[in-house]
Symmetry: C2
Subunit: 192 residues, 2 copies
């Protein structure tokens, strides 16, 4: 039969992610126990930890896909593109995707902003992203040092643009903010 149940409800991982998001919003991250998340998803605490390394990781399932998008955008940039421009193009593409999920992204960011441990996790995800971007540039023949710096600078540009996009009450355009942020970085680093 279509829709017949197997032994278990499908998509346990997704149910855990959704339950966690709801509870983190409702009560806050610290006030939510893993047992509560699991119960709301119809599972046990032990199963939660089979799907996610820890209580924080359940919020960061999407970062992997975003990283793939960024890396593939860099890989498919024309050979003539300068490193910083390949990076900028990648972040603008990512910005477009994030903009489409604006409300969910804002909810998630609200949760993260309220808890230092979650900020730490986000930062290490960004650092890992930085390594991946530097690798992608390196594969295009860019020097190690230049690749690392372009990647880190790109992340700085993105972080600041993203922060403004989240906090501004209006509905600014994220790719546009990224471009402005990059221009400002270029102006700031322009040796006199």
């Amino acid at each position: 039969m279509i829709g017949s149940m197997g032994r278990w409800e499908p998509n346990a991982r997704g149910r855990l992610e959704q339950a966690a998001l709801e509870l983190y919003i409702e009560r806050g991250f610290e006030q939510t126990t893993v047992a509560e998340i699991a119960k709301q998803a119809g599972l046990t605490e032990r199963t939660f930890f089979r799907h996610f390394a820890d209580k924080r990781e359940v919020l960061f399932g999407g970062t992997g896909r975003l990283q793939e998008l960024l890396v593939s955008t860099i890989a498919s940039a024309p050979d003539s593109a300068a490193p910083i421009d390949a990076i900028a193009a990648a972040f603008e593409a990512a910005g477009t995707v994030l903009q489409e999920r604006r409300e969910i992204v804002r909810q998630r960011q609200t949760i993260i902003a309220a808890n230092a441990e979650l900020q730490e996790r986000e930062l290490i995800k960004l650092a890992s992203l930085g390594s991946a971007l530097a690798d992608a540039l390196h594969r295009r023949g860019v020097t190690d040092l230049a690749a690392s710096l372009a990647a880190e600078a790109g992340i700085a540009v993105f972080r600041i643009a993203f922060e403004h996009w989240i906090n501004d009450t209006g509905q600014p355009d994220l790719p546009q903010l990224i471009r402005e942020s990059l221009d400002e970085l270029k102006a700031v680093t322009a040796g006199k």
Copy 2:
């Protein structure tokens, strides 16, 4: 009397820091319990948590002083200095200090490199440092956006220089590496 004991041995905090450093080196961070650190320092686990917010924080007591040095260096830069140059001067000063404590810094970094949670803590300390630097620039009349970007770019430059300084088998000069890293960033961000 000089040297007479009070009720407790002095410098409990310092003893905890030292005990933690020794045990983290000897057995690794995860394999060391807080109770063991406290015992080695002649104290109890509860007292450890009165001095440090968590097991990781005991390794990051020095970051506060480094941040003060960076902020005051920026504050005392000549008015004519561009933001990026004030930042660079600050990091070069910090680099000089770190270079004087080379062995301890390397030990500490070895511990951190071996554990993801410690890397997370270091990243959030750097992020906090970035905010402080941006504030310091802002007090010099630099725009919000320019201040944030100069600070973040400076941190990227420092991180990459520091990483090379730690990993290179030779004894390269950290302030020199910072200057080279900054030059590379300027080259990479130079719009054509």
